[in-house]
């Protein structure tokens, strides 16, 4: 597993946060010593693998991490058959890390450092480093969706979390969100079309985003939603898009089930943990009333508590790494469905116009107007983009789930190995004592 391989944003601070390898992000990083919440996403490499196109995901902020990254990519190429691995460009690297809390009289919010390295001529400089907050990401996404309607725009982490349940400024929350933002941005930067979008350029390089123009945006979004909803009647959706829609419905349902199972496991594990802890305590207190058996019983208590620690790690990993990836995918599916709807809409529009034109043609022999042809082009373009995005998405998905599930298996194996080692050392302790006894008997 590659998670954790590269560590290096030289620029980020030095306080490591709990070891959490997040598939969404990659390695973790040291933190800046700043007072605020400091969470960093390292440069990732592998992390990239989880969700996005593996190869081009990461954007290291420092030369050494870039080096690491490239190395890793080599490895990847060697053992994956990801069609995108070798074909796509790798000239834009982005990283989101180093969250900071800002407190003003008006509001409290978190900003994240967005670092860019690129050789593209569209950028004036080879490197940028900006601080952006969630709103800015949101602005970018809306802009992208608006300007690239035929493309699948990766999801952002949910804006609102269960109020009261989650502390928006807690380290864990910020870290998870940061990883998701990192994932989002990498997915965009790795996309052959989206990565050339001027809004992305502005987001990565402009001092001032000037997004107040974004207000207009909201209305536009509203419109497009209306369009979709008010749909024209579609004559026949091509079979392949029907299949996509069906696939997405089933997939989202399965992911929902997996999410519920994982949460249920977490709950069972935490209840189990409570009981096991007490179980260990009983052994300790028993040890207090024994002589010969004191050490053996203490040994059992120790083994039990080692197992508890292993389980705590395992559960934490599941709630901080496994579940967020699942949820990102559920959102991703929503984005995909949205694009499918827009495609249907554009096909419907074309069909509607075509029908009208044909009617008119029959009546007065006017030729089919250019706009209808434009519409047709638009549909074809939509179909082509969607198919390409779909292929890319499928490939990413496969990589991501492969890594996610393999990681889950690894964590479980790791847990059992820890427990096994604890019990084996207990046996050594118990048997040592026994041989001791025997020797003393024979003497």
């Amino acid at each position: 597993m590659s998670v954790g391989a590269p560590r290096g944003l030289a620029s980020s601070g030095q306080k490591p946060i709990a070891e959490i390898l997040h598939p969404l992000s990659a390695a973790q990083e040291p933190l800046s010593p700043g007072l605020d919440v400091t969470v960093t996403v390292g440069v990732d490499k592998e992390a990239g693998l989880t969700n996005g196109t593996p190869v081009e995901t990461s954007s290291p902020a420092s030369a050494s991490s870039l080096f690491n990254r490239l190395q890793l990519d080599d490895d990847l190429e060697a053992d994956t058959r990801d069609p995108y691995a070798s074909t796509e460009t790798r000239d834009l690297f982005v990283t989101v890390d180093d969250p900071k809390k800002h407190v003003s009289t008006m509001e409290t919010y978190i900003t994240y450092r967005v670092s860019t390295k690129t050789s593209r001529i569209e950028f004036d400089l080879p490197e940028y480093c900006m601080r952006r907050r969630y709103q800015d990401f949101d602005w970018l996404r809306i802009k992208l969706e608006d300007s690239q309607p035929t493309h699948l725009i990766p999801p952002l982490p949910e804006k609102f979390v269960m109020k009261g349940v989650v502390d928006r400024f807690s380290e864990e929350f910020v870290e998870t969100r940061m990883k998701a933002l990192d994932k989002f941005l990498k997915r965009v930067a790795d996309h052959p079309v989206l990565s050339f979008n001027p809004h992305l350029n502005a987001f990565l390089s402009a001092k001032d985003l000037n997004k107040r123009q974004g207000l207009a945006l909201l209305t536009k979004v509203g419109e497009s939603v209306k369009h979709v909803a008010g749909g024209y009647k579609l004559r026949a959706r091509p079979a392949e898009f029907c299949a996509m829609g069906e696939y997405l419905d089933t997939f989202t349902q399965k992911l929902g089930t997996i999410d519920r199972i994982a949460q249920r496991i977490l709950k069972e594990q935490s209840e189990y943990l409570t009981e096991v802890r007490e179980y260990g305590t009983v052994y300790s207190s028993w040890a207090g009333s024994e002589e010969e058996l004191q050490r053996p019983l203490e040994g059992v208590a120790d083994s039990v508590s080692t197992c508890c620690r292993g389980l705590v790690d395992q559960s934490e990993n599941m709630s901080q790494d496994f579940l967020p990836v699942l949820r990102e995918y559920i959102l991703y599916i929503e984005s995909m469905k949205n694009v499918l709807r827009k495609r249907d809409q554009s096909q419907a529009e074309y069909e509607g116009r075509l029908e009208a034109a044909i009617l008119r043609k029959q009546e007065d022999r006017t030729p089919i107007p250019v706009e209808v042809e434009k519409c047709q082009d638009k549909v074809e373009c939509f179909n082509a983009d969607l198919k390409a995005d779909w292929e890319r998405w499928q490939s990413n998905k496969r990589q991501d789930f492969k890594q996610l599930l393999t990681g889950m298996a690894d964590k479980n194996i790791n847990y059992y190995e820890k427990c096994q080692a604890a019990w084996e050392s207990l046996i050594t302790l118990l048997q040592d004592k026994q041989t001791e006894d025997k020797t003393s008997e024979t003497n």
Binding site: Y247, T250, F251, K254, T257, I258, I261, R264, I265, E268, Q269, E271, Y272, E275, V276, E278, Y279, V282, Y283, S285, W286, S289, E292, L293, P296, L297, G299, V300, S303, R398, F401, K402, L405, T406, A409, D410, N412, I413, Y415, Y416, E417, C419, Q420, W423, E424, L426, I427, L430, Q431, K433, Q434
Partner: protein, 438 residues
């Protein structure tokens, strides 16, 4: 198989799966040999071979279903190579007959910690286990427990020589009558009465007080442990079984995937295997619980010895008190001192109402009674000392046995845990391989 340990059979099997085996196995053999050291065990092999359900009318003529256990005994001579082992003598006993045997031993050997019987009803169960007395798993565990009880008695230096015990193993008919003829039941009644009466010993033996306290502690801690263990088992069961849902969802998901399909599908099977593996794991763990339970019930036997010691000590103190009182009376008679001194009283006592003859005879009666009292105290003292000596010998033996048994139980528990970990690692490694192929 003749092992004194209820979990032995299983334990050996488990050991077979692990790396730690050989020394462990060796240890077991050595220990078992030591326990076989009684005359009875040198002569005969004992086991409870099977259990059978029967239906019949009980004493009040009500139809009932009960379980009988087949006791097999056979001469312990080594079977020459190629020879066939002697056919065992067999007889059937009910649990209630085991209970009668134990009560008999308890009364007859008050200074011995009588091995406990397996529980009458399943206790400290985690909820997936049946609490039904006729449940096959319960009956099987009880069979093992009863065999263990017989072996404990048979390997006891004193109990193994008991005639009634021998008859229990060898005479199906007439055994009950033989027990009743010993008259132990009368003793039961009188003993029970005194034991139930409240009495306070003035000079308790510190060793017994400490022992009693220890057995109370042991009782508490083991029952607490068993309770928590049952809850742990419940939760663990939950954790594993919930994983089984992955099996289903992976398999359903695989239906819509192309490249990932096969990997998901087979990973799903491994998740099913994982969920199913908990049944055997917990079933195995019941043996550990049974080992703990045996010692939980042993604490009752230890307390009973302590209680009997108190009773004897109390009887001794009463006798001594009685003697002291008589001696005081004599003293008063000789010196003419009366507790409440008065000239008038003294004079009347010495010269007035009582003639010298009368005094003589009173004196003689007192002397006699003092002598009897002294005999009594001497006897009681002897009895008490004898009790302490024999009881303490057995207590020492018990402590050693307990330390050894529990240490072994802990080892086999650790081995079980290791085997569970190995199973877990195995299943997840298999699953990982499938995920990797996706």
């Amino acid at each position: 198989m003749m092992m004194a340990d209820p979990g032995s059979n299983e334990e050996v099997a488990v050991i077979g799966n692990t790396d730690i085996t050989s020394t462990e196995l060796e240890n077991n053999i050595i220990n078992t040999m030591v326990e076989r050291g009684t005359a009875l065990l040198r002569k005969m092999e004992i086991n409870v071979a099977e259990a059978e359900k029967r239906t019949g009318k009980n004493t009040v003529n009500i139809q009932e279903t009960y379980t009988v256990y087949l006791i097999e005994t056979r001469p312990a001579e080594a079977v020459p190579d190629g020879g066939t082992p002697a056919t065992p003598d067999t007889l059937w006993r009910r649990y209630s007959e085991f209970e009668l045997l134990r009560t008999y031993l308890l009364i007859t050997y008050p200074y011995i910690i009588i091995p406990p019987l397996p529980e009458k009803r399943a206790e400290f169960q985690w909820h997936k286990l049946s609490a039904d007395n006729l449940d096959p798993d319960f009956v099987e565990r009880r069979r093992v427990g009863l065999e263990n009880f017989l072996l404990r008695v048979a390997s006891h230096p004193v109990l193994s020589n008991d005639k009634i015990f021998f008859l229990f193993l060898t005479e199906e008919k007439g055994w009950r009558e033989a027990v009743l003829e010993t008259g132990f039941q009368d003793k039961v009644d009188s003993r029970l009465k005194s034991l139930n009466a409240m009495f306070r010993v003035k000079n308790p033996d510190k060793r017994f007080t400490a022992l009693k306290q220890y057995s109370d502690e042991l009782n508490n801690v083991i029952s607490q442990l068993l309770r928590v263990r049952a809850r742990v088992a419940d939760r663990l069961y939950g954790v594993y079984k919930v994983h089984g849902n992955y099996g289903r969802v992976f398999s359903e998901w695989s239906a819509i995937e192309k490249e990932m399909g096969d990997g998901l599908q087979s990973a799903g099977h491994h998740m099913d295997t994982y969920a199913a593996s908990i049944d055997d794991i917990l079933e195995e763990e019941e043996h550990y619980a049974d080992q703990l339970k045996e010692y939980l019930f042993y604490t009752e036997a230890v307390r009973s010895v302590c209680r009997k010691h108190e009773l004897i000590q109390y009887e001794l103190e009463i006798a001594a008190q009685d003697l002291a009182y008589k001696k005081q009376q004599k003293e008063e008679l000789v010196t003419g001192t009366v507790r409440v001194f008065s000239l008038k009283g003294m004079t009347s006592k010495l010269f007035g109402q009582e003639s010298p003859e009368q005094r003589e005879s009173r004196m003689a009666a007192l002397e006699q009674s003092i002598q009897e009292g002294e005999e009594m105290v001497k006897d009681k003292n002897k009895e008490c000392q004898e009790f302490v000596r024999t009881a303490w010998e057995d207590i020492e033996r018990f402590k050693e046995q307990k330390d050894k048994d529990l240490r072994e139980a802990l080892i086999s528990y650790a081995i079980m845990q290791i085997s569970m970990c190995k199973k877990g690692i195995q299943v997840w490694s298999n699953a990982k391989e499938c995920f990797n192929k996706m």
